[in-house]
Symmetry: C2
Subunit: 415 residues, 2 copies
Amino acid sequence: MLIERDDDSQEVNRRSALGVTAPRGFWAGSAAAGIRDGKADRPDVGILYSEVPAAAAGVFTANRVRAACVELTERLVRQNRRLQAVVANSGNANACTGERGAADAAEMQRAAADLFGLEPQDVGVASTGVIGVPLPMDRVRVGIEAAAKRIRDDGGRAFAEAIMTTDTRPKEAVAEFRVDGRPATVGGAAKGSGMIHPNMATMLAFLTTDAAVDPAALDAALRLAVDRSFHCISVDGDTSTNDMVLCLANGLAENRILTPEHPDWPAFVETLTTVATELAKAVARDGEGATRLVEVRVEGARSEEDARRAAKAVAGSSLVKTAVYGADPNWGRILCAVGYSGAEFEPEGADVYIGDICVCRGGRAIDFDEEAARGVLRGDPVVLRVILGNGPGSAVAWGCDLTEKYIEINAHYRT
Amino acid sequence: MLIERDDDSQEVNRRSALGVTAPRGFWAGSAAAGIRDGKADRPDVGILYSEVPAAAAGVFTANRVRAACVELTERLVRQNRRLQAVVANSGNANACTGERGAADAAEMQRAAADLFGLEPQDVGVASTGVIGVPLPMDRVRVGIEAAAKRIRDDGGRAFAEAIMTTDTRPKEAVAEFRVDGRPATVGGAAKGSGMIHPNMATMLAFLTTDAAVDPAALDAALRLAVDRSFHCISVDGDTSTNDMVLCLANGLAENRILTPEHPDWPAFVETLTTVATELAKAVARDGEGATRLVEVRVEGARSEEDARRAAKAVAGSSLVKTAVYGADPNWGRILCAVGYSGAEFEPEGADVYIGDICVCRGGRAIDFDEEAARGVLRGDPVVLRVILGNGPGSAVAWGCDLTEKYIEINAHYRT
């Protein structure tokens, strides 16, 4: 059902690769337009289309410097709470591009709307890539036209590939749930892989469902899901200008409209959260230069918020990330990160585990099998656990190790 | 007068190398005790001693996980506001070591006190190095005894070397000012070089002066100086368990006691800030794996606090740091970091400079000489300037580039 789970039978892989097109009525396609450097050697324009108008919700970057597409799409979603298509490009963020950037985003929107016979306000726009360079609109126009022609009801993988930048693999997830006794599906695609940090996290993520959902309720569900997924990952501590998570619900499952009062509301929120979490973890695992996923579980915190703060600090610590890379069971760095996270706790009550191995009890060193701990750190994912003995709060955050490759990518690639 | 300034005549170098022993009546010495691994091949115990009791003030780590020496020395300084000696070691942080750690810190204090005929409460203790390993007290005792025998009134360099861990060079600074018409001196030593981030910053810094300063006023002056120096640097975003800035004022300049009402108070605060800033910059420049110092100046912010927030975000951004390393004039990352810093501003009013070269005006790309900008980024220090056009606030922060060497050091070295 989900990307990269252990049970990867052919059927599971096929379903998962459907990504955003797994739910009924969603189509997607891509084209190679040479947006980054004129060479049309990789897909860089993606279009997502729903057969019918969909309720829409979004979460957008907290950065004060916001790309033109973020301004445009957030305004749309706030005002109309519905979309029928999204046009996305990689290779150029259309950020810090002034009035021309705003005009270019609007033109992308209009071009896609014309091709599908929609109103511009039914089309969202997303961009990712280099900052401060105007979009090459001649190439973008050609790309949108080509992608629109190629949309298919199983085109999710093509869409997921079109939004990649330094990502090494497409990121998709699919999960199902039942509403009013019928099956419904949530699908998703996301791209990372630098400038990943709460709040926001992944630069672009798209979630689709065929469930019928009340637009205000969809917004609430998306915020709950994002708080536990994209807001809990960190690659490098940088929050981008273009971060956007969009969710479209087209209602083709023909259920009674989901609101918090509907008996299947919890199942919907849980499924949306599951898909968002799988995507977020895929983004963390594919962080620039990363060799493995790090999962940080904090338990026994005073509150869930304190637990999340502590888990994020550990997942975001350069020193923890390099220790994981070096397979060094240096738990002092883990406890140190919890210490500066802002979470309230007494170090004397804190235990630290690397995998199942207790490496620190009551804030102090204990004897442990160092070779075994190194083995855990060489695995993937690496699970780090901190128990604060301070209350009922628990949370999970995800990150990755920090390697020479991150430096190499970012010293020489323009994001 | 100051370390690493351009005019490095022999006399300047000699004065600067005096460091903490430049002011009258301060002595220092060191010994190699093999604290880290039993090999006594580098100095790792340092003692600072004043001929007379000195007013003392300190700023200590904000981390909730605090080394035993931090607990001990902070309590001392708060209660008595005076010290006559400090014993410091590198190679072992004596952090996360529980009751044994507290007893060991107290024993270090008592051992030094006995050697100088002082009361224990007149001796501060500082440690830096690996976390979670008990101090090898047999070696520490021998080291303290040896260092105490070797103290000299020009032993500042020896002290600065004894507190180094992954630092590649000792960090010292000296500056003079006049009080009541007579010369007085401020000296200092510091060590970095990972886990460097506000708040706190450098793991250990020691400032000395022969000026007579009221203890409460000394505390106020130190906080002003630290806010503009050690709290404005970042190497890797990690705040350590052992951070400590101690300041001792022994009064041998025989001036009227300095308080904010004294006409020479501003000169004292400025001189203390100058020495603290030189040390902070030396710590940033010598960040683990760093090849150059990055100075970030933010002007035109709504407030000084906003300016400082923005400058720190830019100096701390992994993406800015890797771009500097790669000599890539990627100003989008600079503006992006200001955008998520929390500072309030309109991107449309922001200009960005690399050295003297304007690379972004009004939040948008402009044409600039890219080769010249690369040249600036290859220099040292690299000055980045952001003008927000939003008010009178300005601030400076310091960081360093991020290189493969940082990864190498931290994947394989235990801090």
